[in-house]
């Protein structure tokens, strides 16, 4: 086994380790100083002393490192712990991450009653972080109070996601987690027993339970929980939002974190506006909510909100995401091959930067029909056509509001 550094030692000739900040089943964390910048950071490495086997610990550690790297590559998110450095010294893998000066969310209620407005803010921020992850093909799956730190930023209570070892991505995550808890939705808890896929709605459930925890100080395993039934005195919209988010049936919840974020922002539990996609030359029709992702069914990794069948597998796991802002819809591409929108005056190619770079590397033409760099997102209006991969590919939908 690799020798692990301890308080007082300097890792990789750069990070001087201070106090141990915590140890979990898979990783040990130290507060540390980056001697090059003078900044306080946190250094994590695999917890070989945990009850898990070395192989499992290393696998989880690797998963977390890879996911944090994906998050950074996508620009990072203010409510997700940022990755500063990653490396290996004498066979010991380590991560250097932002040091979050705060306390775990489950300690929040020991301190004082959390005001309702703070609960709402934490909910909005967690939804934002989850929506960001979902847009990047990551489903967190194990959101619970121990995985969230609360800190103060700009005078606001701000939650920061700190653990990523059970999340899954399209690149494949670690096996199923079997530890049950009240924060896990039935489709995750019973993953081995039912076929219900896990998706953005799974994280919506966990956020709902976390909000109940902040309001009440405890959470039951029961689904569909209205805080008022447990003696919480709160505004109806918040109670209704928690109740809807925690339903057993994923179809009855907010479909994704973006939808729930909007509800919390607006203080109105009614689900946001929806549109629909009608398959051309086919009979499928899908409802579209803001924040929904559309991608290929049965792809490895997390399910998109809208999963379409694509035998030839040109459609990405998350091909596009639908946004709704200022009473208007937009489509944001996140695919490798691009998406086309027909607005009446011809097909407009929409392609994300990563897809464009990939096509360039392969010597293919990444431009649109006018020879311009295609936009990454595009406005959608009632009646527009949306074609995945290419208008001739056969996966074309009419967008209806």
């Amino acid at each position: 086994m690799t020798a692990v550094p301890a308080t007082g030692e300097t890792l990789a000739g750069r990070y001087r380790l201070g106090e141990k900040a915590g140890a979990g089943g898979f990783a040990v964390a130290y507060e540390a100083v980056d001697t090059e910048t003078g900044e306080t950071v946190a250094v994590k490495y695999p917890n070989y002393d945990s009850s898990n086997s070395t192989a499992v610990v290393e696998q989880y550690f690797q998963t977390e490192a890879d996911l944090l790297e994906t998050v950074e590559a996508a620009g990072g998110h203010p409510n997700i712990m940022s990755l500063l450095d990653r490396g290996e010294v004498d066979g010991l893998p380590y991560l250097v991450v932002e040091f979050v000066d705060g306390y775990e969310l489950d300690e929040a209620i020991d301190r004082t009653d959390v005001p309702e407005e703070e609960v709402r803010q934490v909910g909005v921020a967690l939804c934002g972080a989850m929506a960001f992850l979902h847009g990047n093909e990551i489903v967190y799956r194990d959101l619970k109070p121990d995985n969230v730190m609360l800190t103060e930023r700009d005078g606001l209570v701000t939650p920061i996601l700190i653990d990523f070892n059970t999340a899954t991505s399209a690149a494949g995550g670690v096996g199923e987690t079997t530890i049950l808890g009240p924060y896990k939705p039935p489709e995750v808890a019973e993953a081995t027993e039912t076929d219900a896929r896990q998706g953005p709605w799974s994280d919506v459930y966990s956020i709902g339970k976390i909000l109940l925890f902040l309001l009440r100080g405890a959470v039951p395993r029961k689904d569909g929980v209205d805080p008022r039934d447990f003696g919480v005195d709160c505004e109806p919209y918040l109670a209704e939002t928690v109740e809807k988010a925690t339903r057993s049936d994923p179809d009855e919840r907010y479909r994704n974190a973006t939808a729930m974020e909007r509800v919390l922002r607006e203080r109105d539990s009614t689900p946001p506006p929806s549109a629909s996609l009608v398959r051309q030359n086919g009979d499928e029709e899908y409802s579209v909510y803001p924040g929904d992702t559309l991608g290929r069914r049965d792809a490895t990794g997390p399910a998109p909100s809208i999963a379409v069948r694509d035998e030839e597998e040109y459609v990405s796991t998350v091909q596009v995401q639908f946004e709704y802002e200022d009473a208007g819809w937009r489509l944001r591409d996140s695919s490798l091959n691009g998406t086309y929108v027909q607005t009446g005056d011809g097909w407009q190619r929409v392609l994300c930067a990563a897809g464009r770079e990939r096509l360039q590397r392969q010597g293919e033409d990444p431009t649109d029909r006018h020879g311009f760099i295609p936009p990454e997102s595009y406005k959608l209006s009632d009646g527009d056509l949306v074609a995945l991969v290419h208008p001739s590919y056969g996966l074309t939908f009419q967008f209806r509001t």
Binding site: A218, F230, G231
Partner: protein, 395 residues
Amino acid sequence: MASIETEVNRPAVPPEGARITAEVDVEPGEQASGVERHIALCIDTSGSMSGAKISRARDGASWVFGLLDPTDYVSVVAFDSTAEVLLGPVRWGDLGRDEAMGMVEELSAGGGTDMYAGLETASESLASLDHDPGASGDAVRRLLLLSDGKDKDHTVGEFEELARDIDGSGVRIEAAGIGEDYNQDTIRTLGTTARGKWTHLEEAGDIEAFFGEAVESASQVVAADAELELDAANGVEVSDIYRALPQAQDVEPEWEANTATVKLPDLTERERQRVVMKVAAPAHDPAEGVPLVQVRLRARGDEATDRITVDYTEESEELAEANEEVQLDHQETVVRTELGKGNVEAAETQVEQMTRIHGETEVVEDVARETQVVKEGGKAERSRATELVDEERIE
């Protein structure tokens, strides 16, 4: 569908016979449909409960109300020098939360501790629901007892008898003692006899979780009133039977001829049960797969069977085969059961024996440590010692 699996510590025994250890694991299977819960809260409101305890007991009732479904039934009984039904039994859907809370607000502390009357009254309140335990679509019935004091007018034996009656009416008792002044023998006897769990609560803040866990696990019941029938073959003796999981507890089997019936706690989703025992295999000519005990699980009309068998042989290689785990499970259960009763000496004797046989393995070290903890500790340590960890349920 529940299933069972038997294991022995020695798959082969010599022709002159031997005493072996066996265990039966019961996998509850999955719940087919939701259950109707009949919950009686039986709360000590004697003078010593005043302050945080009674206030958190009210919060606990509030929490329980949040967990109930409209089809469930609930009653609340308070006892001090006398027992009183504060609420119900009533179908939750027929009662408003505000109305229920109004009645619970009447919980106030004062007077003595007639726990016996409290239990009788709570049991009668559930009985008044006129439920037929044998009927299909059985309800899951729970009496949740919370007390911090001693009932000086009744013996442990009297409570045991009462618990047996209550268990016989299809009601399981989940018993919790809080603080340092209650009689743990009584609490333990009530939980063990009426096939629930018994536990110690350290502080008022734990009351809500105790009530909540009991009510939520009741919704996961696959089959109430399950039992194991151990039908021993001629000349075979079964003894030293204990429940290992979900909690280390004594078992008093009902014997009929050479058949023992071991009543099990309600089978609950994801909660494996284990019964451990000693089996004396009589002399027998060399033969393979000789059945010693026919094991049958009966659970709500379903049945599952397995057999405890051994090979009789003179081959020393086969005789040397041993499944140490099974023996360790039995010994650990004995230690933990004794520790639950505060019988440190009996536990120490068993630990010494384990050390002699198995050396200082992880399990032996665990129980040795646990024994020391109980020796130096109090009620909390005794209660905690009975909780075996189901390794396979941990990631």
